[in-house]
Amino acid sequence: MPREFVISGLRLFWSTAIMNEGFSEAPQRLVEDKKDTILSMTNETTKMSVKVWRGDKSSGSYQTFEVPRQENQTVLDVVTWIQQTQDPNLSYRFACRVGMCGSCAMMVNGAPRWTCRTHVNKVLDGDTLEVAPLRNLPVIKDLVADMDPFFDKWVDAGGHHAPSASRYDDMPKISSDEPERAEANKSIECINCAVCYAACDTVAQNPDYLGPAALQRAWTLLNDKKVDDHDAVLEKVSGKGGCHNCHSQGSCTLYCPNGLDPMRAIAGLKSATIKRALKRGG
């Protein structure tokens, strides 16, 4: 039951992001907001060459657009300009535009990034930009990746709350100074944008691997006093696709736009699982 509940919750959240796919479905207010930016971008004379992935899960190729350069311009601005002035059929995903929702992540010049928080100035290679859907996930259409495998693994790693007390019990008192709480606090800012998942070479080579975000979530649960069954958390990350597949290459930590350190969290899980196995005698 919790699994279905979590998945439906995640899907509900993402459905709000998916609503922005396609010009005809874009909210009117958003179009008004963007009008000034788009007009000023159209008036610019300096241009850049933007290669955008077009296609679906079976096939696709890059399509090149000439896009006006602006002094202040994010990659999401560029994609929006293409969809609103060049090709309304271009599909992409975004919601908040301020780095809070995690829905606009794409591959920009080969690296996973939040497009809303990535200035063109920082990533432009000569005068070209290459935008593609997130790596390591199936493509639905154009720049929209299918997030299901990512969220399924998040749940598989125990990424849901398993209540340990009833409404009649007192709330546990947890001080923010406690070492476990301090450890959990380092990871709770994850917004599930899947940038770490796209950056991970182990995920690319091993489809069973749960990935950095899911394992980091398990690490926060392990450090959470409100979670009773820590053994169950460790059991879930010790299987075939578990934390022991991590090669500690560190791409997750390098690319996390929130500055989190999933590699360290996974190292913590490895250590905790070994201690548990030694206590049990193998």
């Binding site: 597949n245 070994i274 196995a277």
Partner: protein
């Protein structure tokens, strides 16, 4: 890779660290001024210490190498678990057998 393989690979690595340094150190020390096969055998044959030293070394290398090979084959060729396990055990056991032959040849009288 599951937890048991992970532990086996890490433990074998920890065992190998001092053995590798001792192996290299003794080689560099013993070869000063030249050394012949006869001189080496005169030191190693009948030595329980060198039998145990290289015996443990061979077992650690076999365990470590076989699990590492399994991971490389899994991630590069995506073989199924059964195939991976068969290759891992075959490689590990052949390594132990060949290593044991070499150790016995230089340490037994």
């Amino acid at each position: 890779m599951d937890l048991r393989l992970y532990i086996a690979q890490r433990v074998s690595a920890m065992v190998m660290i001092p053995l590798v340094f001792a192996h290299l150190g003794v080689m560099i020390y013993a070869i000063q001024g030249g050394v012949s096969a006869g001189e080496i055998l005169s030191r190693t044959q009948g030595s329980v210490f060198w039998f145990l030293f290289y015996g443990v070394f061979v077992v650690s290398v076999s365990v470590h190498g076989a699990i590492g090979l399994r991971t490389i084959l899994s991630e590069t060729f995506r073989f199924r678990s059964l195939t991976l396990d068969a290759i891992m055990w075959t490689f590990g056991l052949v390594s132990i057998f060949m290593g044991a032959r070499a150790v016995s040849a230089v340490t037994w009288l």
